[in-house]
Amino acid sequence: MSTARLEQLSKQYDGHLAVDRINLDIADGEFVVFVGPSGCGKSTTLRMIAGLERATGGEIWIDGKPANHVSPRDRDIAMVFQNYALYPHMTVAQNLSYALRLRNWSRADIDRRVTEVARSLDLAPLLHRKPSQLSGGQRQRVALGRAIIREPKLFLMDEPLSNLDAKLRVQTRAEITRLQRSLGITTIYVTHDQTEAMTMGNKIVVMNGGRIQQADTPQQLYQHPANTFVAQFIGTPPMNLLRCRLEPQDGAIVARGAGVNIPIRLESLTVLRPKIRDGEFLIGFRPEDIVMDPGAAGNGVTGSADVIEGLGHESLVSVKEGENAFIARMSPENAAPIRLGDRLSFSVNPDRLRFFSAESGEAIRVP
């Protein structure tokens, strides 16, 4: 059990910065998920923590000790690889016990531990098979078993579920979460799938372009994205972002843009105004935070129905108006009468409105 800390950690390949001065504290027992599009530097960061890549700048601390110069074998970590990396010439039992044999455990201890781990992962009947005789899900469990067998300081997982089919992925997701909570081992998990990130992590680190965009709890990430990248990366469908300006109307100030006409609270204005002055900005809201409301024409968002997708338990309606477009989530019953091209009006939950700078994309937090 242990903590980890990244300080100004950087990785440069041929003049290109794959990881750009990232800072992060990982607490004991935490489940941290790195998520981002491919090439965002999340895997490189993980591999630097593992010691498989050398950092070209910054420090890695494991358990309060500098780890940059420690070889992977001395870092006391375990890693689950994307393609499992099971040793093809060894049986399941030999794969599991490899790390223990390298540490000169006694035969009896090895056998006991292998049996324990095999039982907890349902691998007992497979111990004498070779990896090539296993199904994808079974291989995945062996890879997990190889990681947990020696109770390392850190678990590192590099997209461990990406080779499983959709159904198995959901099942294994839960199993890994359960395992991590019961063992309490600090875990760093890399994925490109935001659903995986949201369901598994205590702390989610969203990366893009080699930088950390936001590191937060899943709830904070969803409710208060730090910038437009996070707003659009987290959530399916992503957060709606609409361009508008501040304009006076009937003695109040409204956000107005194509299809947008939303009054802004006074206390929000005091923060918002100095930041954007007369320029454009973006308002954001989640698809579930608007309700169809025919009377909301001057007080919400409007547009014509563009695409209607029925998912069975809910419907997603895409609405377009000029340069702006947004998606509304609603019940199938409410969506049923809507025809393509219909004019629709929605009122927006004022507590769920978010604001972003049009130039930098950074969130503007308002009271």
Binding site: G51, L52, R73, A78, F81, N83, P88, Y98, R103, R146
Partner: protein, 292 residues
């Protein structure tokens, strides 16, 4: 001729006829292609077991003679130095194959796993040395070897063959090492093994088939080689089997039964090895440009 309509593919009545004709044409083509490949071998073997009195008969007999003799396979070792030549070839080929595989394995592993300056040039050099006409290397090497006294000796020939085989072994093994996922070695490093420990516990066991194939292929190239062997070794006692074989013809009356007997003996190991390795060779010999 069956005229039953084959309803399966909704075909008309007539195509049955043309399909049978097509089948027959394909069968004939296959037979011709096989004959092209195999007949010279057949002829080699048939000649080797023909009594010497019937060698120069015209028209030649296509089938093995009724009184075929296999005794040539024994007497050839008494009448000629074939035994010595075979033994020389085995020693030279074993020596070069072991050395080339060893040197090549280390280099191939480095090329496959480490990044260092001059990699691109090294890979070009690997390709080029396999493509150069042998004579371009053989002549200057002959000059140098004559200066340092390595001519006319089997160890000298073994060293000379390294020039041909180290690049071959390196390229072949590189394709094998490239096929072993790096993640396996990384997993082992994380599990607590050192680099060298990982090489012996993970990489080596997984590349054993590759090493064996490379070793065999190097052995066969050395076995087959003629140009260097005939330039570098002059005394018949030190000849390799290809030089010895070639020396048969050019005498006034070539003893074709003996020549073909020796040829059959020399071909056997080469043919067996090739049949085992053909899949690897296409990939390796085209510098990975073609998947075998």
């Amino acid at each position: 001729m069956r005229n039953a309509p084959s309803a399966r593919h909704g075909e008309a009545f007539l195509p049955n006829l043309s399909r049978i004709a097509g089948r027959l044409a394909l069968a004939a083509l296959i037979l011709i292609l096989c004959a092209i490949a195999v007949f010279p071998f057949y002829w080699m073997f048939v000649t080797s077991i023909r009594p010497s009195g019937q060698l120069f008969a015209y028209p030649p007999e296509m089938l093995p003679s009724a009184n075929s003799v296999f005794s040539t396979y024994v007497t050839i070792f008494q009448d000629t130095a074939l035994g010595t030549w075979l033994w020389n070839s085995i020693r030279v080929a074993l020596g070069t194959a072991i050395l080339a595989s060893f040197i090549g394995a280390m280099m191939a592993y480095s090329l496959s796993r480490f990044r260092f300056q001059g990699r691109g040039f090294t890979e070009y050099l690997l390709l080029a040395t396999q493509m150069f006409p042998g004579i371009l290397l053989a002549m200057p090497m002959y000059v140098l070897f004559s200066k340092i006294g390595l001519l006319n000796s089997l160890p000298g020939l073994t060293v000379a063959y390294l020039a041909l085989l180290v690049p071959v072994a390196t390229s072949l093994l590189k394709t094998f090492f490239d096929g072993i996922p790096v993640a396996l070695e990384e997993a082992s490093l994380i599990d607590g093994a050192s680099r060298i420990g990982t090489f012996f516990r993970i990489t080596l066991p997984l590349s054993l088939p590759g090493l064996a194939s490379t070793f065999l292929f190097c052995f066969i190239i050395a076995w087959d080689e003629y140009l260097f062997a005939q330039m570098f070794v002059r005394q018949p006692g030190n000849w390799t089997v290809s030089v010895g074989l070639a020396s048969f013809s050019g005498e006034y009356v070539t003893p074709w039964d003996q020549v073909m007997t020796a040829a059959t003996i020399v071909t056997l190991p080469a043919a067996i090895v090739f049949l085992f390795l053909q899949r690897y060779l296409v990939h390796g010999l085209t510098a990975g440009g073609v998947k075998g």
